[in-house]
């Protein structure tokens, strides 16, 4: 067991680029600060190359703190991809809202480091640190629009509840440590497998950890912060919260439950079953009543966490594979939807009400068609990634004979179709409104939207490639 720097090279590169950007801020002329975004992008591409070069490496690294496996590499690529898309979308956003570039991109890079660490951590200390690196950067990013009360409020709520929930997570970790005598994943799993009857502290630890992760992944009943924080945060950060941050919490939860505590599956399956039902129901029903598109997408992201939970509750190989597949599909469609929302909203984040989408269809065909694709995919209509993902998740639950869960999930997603289609109907059949300044979609945003559309449709029509990759990735 040694340090093996190559295993953490992507994280090192990202951190160095984050620091580099902070150093560059005072030396870059005001007018050229947006170039810092491309520095961040370059760092992410370098890290991506590193991860790709490592694909196939297995074993423990960094003194046993980090797993090197396909699962981790798969997730790392996904996270880097999502963050890179967010960088591309934010360059224009920051210019429009007159926000500082440098701090934004370096914080985003640090947040990405946290996500990568969570995906590969082999030790509860590392999981906790990854989570905190991600969260603390995101607290600041959520409150990035200093002059706006909504943004400050969003950051404050996220901070207070985030810190509160990390308290629970830590307390859970402490109990698991006390019960198993180690914080290393493999060691804990061994101890639990060897023991005949489990100490009560272990169950306490499990419960508290699920609460902690549940907060971060916005699972009901710990989702209350989500809509407010998503609404107040800058749009690119809302996308980051909905995709990167949530996916990282989910991946860490998958690792903890599947790799560390598979022996207790009966117990956590019961907890997650209830949480899955609640999450899907609350997410889909509350989304019906929303008038703000960011808030609607926030509830939609809660609902999608519920679908992911269905796969997690199934606790079988197909479940783990379909979680990975769904995370990819979810990243494509959600990032795409937020990119369009960002493009349609104009200075000061006006035009983010659902009414503002009325009659956009014929005036802005590119934005409307792409947004329709993303919403159709989120609704889970065939020929899109969202449909395939849901199919696999529900199939996994069927395999574990959780028929009621699947029935509820199908009903919930049927409710969901209504609010997604409402936006599309409004875009094409709504009455025309005062349109304000015309929308100009800058090239980077256009590129992101195009990539996401292609990805969403590709996953829906040819799911084989990614499903194969996901099945390779799941080794536990």
């Amino acid at each position: 067991m040694d340090i093996n720097y190559t295993a953490v090279l992507p994280e090192i590169i990202l951190s160095l680029f984050g620091i580099l950007i902070m150093i560059l801020i005072p030396f870059t002329p005001k007018a050229r600060q947006s170039a810092l975004g491309f520095v961040a992008l370059f760092g992410m591409v370098l890290a991506l190359i590193c991860v790709s070069a490592q694909c196939g490496a297995t074993g423990l690294a960094f003194f046993g703190m980090i797993f090197q496996d396909y699962f981790g590499q798969f997730c790392k690529i996904l996270f880097l991809f999502a963050s890179a898309a967010i960088v591309l979308v934010s360059i224009n956003y920051l210019e429009r809202e007159k926000l500082p570039y440098g701090e934004f991109f370096s914080l985003l890079l640090f947040a990405t480091v946290g996500m990568l660490l969570m995906a590969t951590s082999a030790d509860l200390i590392m999981t906790f640190l990854g989570l905190e690196v991600l969260s603390i950067s995101t607290y600041v990013l959520a409150g990035f629009k200093e002059g706006e009360m909504k943004s400050t409020e969003s950051a404050l709520k996220y901070f207070l509840l985030g810190a509160f929930s990390s308290g629970f997570l830590l307390y859970g970790i402490a109990f698991v440590y006390g019960a198993a005598g180690s914080t290393k994943y493999l060691k804990i799993a061994q101890v639990i497998e060897a023991s005949e009857n489990y100490p009560p502290t272990l169950f306490l630890g499990l419960g508290l950890m699920v609460v902690g992760f549940g907060f971060k992944a916005a699972l009901a009943p710990f989702h209350v912060w989500t809509p407010d924080v998503y609404e107040g945060a800058p749009v690119p950060i809302t996308a980051h919260l909905a995709v990167g941050s949530k996916a990282a919490a989910f991946v860490a939860l998958v690792r903890v439950l599947y790799q560390v505590l598979p022996e207790l599956s009966q117990h956590w399956q019961a907890i997650l079953w209830v949480s899955a039902v609640l999450t899907m129901a609350i997410g889909n029903i509350a989304a019906l009543a929303q008038t703000n598109i960011k808030r609607m997408l926030a509830y939609s992201s809660i609902a999608h966490a519920g679908y992911l939970l269905v796969g997690l509750t199934a606790h079988n190989r197909l479940g783990a594979q379909s979680i990975l597949f769904y995370l990819v599909a979810y990243a494509f469609m959600t990032l795409g939807a937020f990119a369009v929302v960002q493009a349609i909203g104009r200075e000061g984040e006006k035009y983010i009400g659902i009414d503002d989408y009325s009659d956009l269809g014929y005036r802005y065909p590119f934005l409307s068609i792409t947004l329709s694709v993303f919403l159709i995919s989120l609704a889970g209509i065939p020929a899109t990634g969202g449909f395939m993902g849901k199919l696999f998740l529900f199939a996994a639950a069927m395999q574990s004979e959780m028929y009621w869960l699947v029935v509820i999930a199908v009903i919930a997603s049927a409710i969901g179709i209504y609010y997604y289609l409402r936006v599309i109907v409004l875009m094409y059949m709504g009455e025309s409104k005062d349109e304000g300044t015309p929308i100009i979609v800058p090239t980077p945003v256009r590129i992101v939207i195009a990539i996401m559309v292609v990805g969403t449709l590709y996953l829906g029509i040819f799911p084989g490639t990614f499903l194969h990759l996901a099945s390779e990735a799941v080794s536990f």
Partner: protein, 100 residues
């Protein structure tokens, strides 16, 4: 020697006080201090287990928790300053404009 359960019970009480405080109190600073109290209860738990398992792992964990708590305090207090500048109060209910 004092048995482990005593320490654990103390930590549990501290944690409960902290958690209740966050839920009941409306002053941001108080809420934040209650979160810190929760983290310290966790630290106490770690140290207890570490002592009774005869390992140092738990104590190392405590250092990490303390570091993270410090980083969190920096960000948190900055946000609280921002709130008090905007609303002239530390009442979290003042920062509740978004509702469904």
């Amino acid at each position: 020697m004092v048995p482990a359960t005593h320490y654990l019970a103390l930590a549990a009480i501290l944690f409960a006080i902290g958690a209740l405080g966050v839920i009941i109190r409306r002053n941001v600073i108080t809420m934040f201090m209650c979160v810190e109290l929760m983290l310290n209860a966790v630290n106490l738990t770690f140290i207890t287990f570490s002592r009774f398992l005869n390992q140092v792992d738990g104590q190392i964990f405590v250092f990490f928790v303390m570091t993270v708590a410090a980083a969190e305090a920096a960000v948190g207090l900055a946000l609280i300053v921002l709130l008090s500048r905007r609303t002239d109060t530390l009442d979290v209910d003042q920062a509740n404009t978004m509702k469904w």
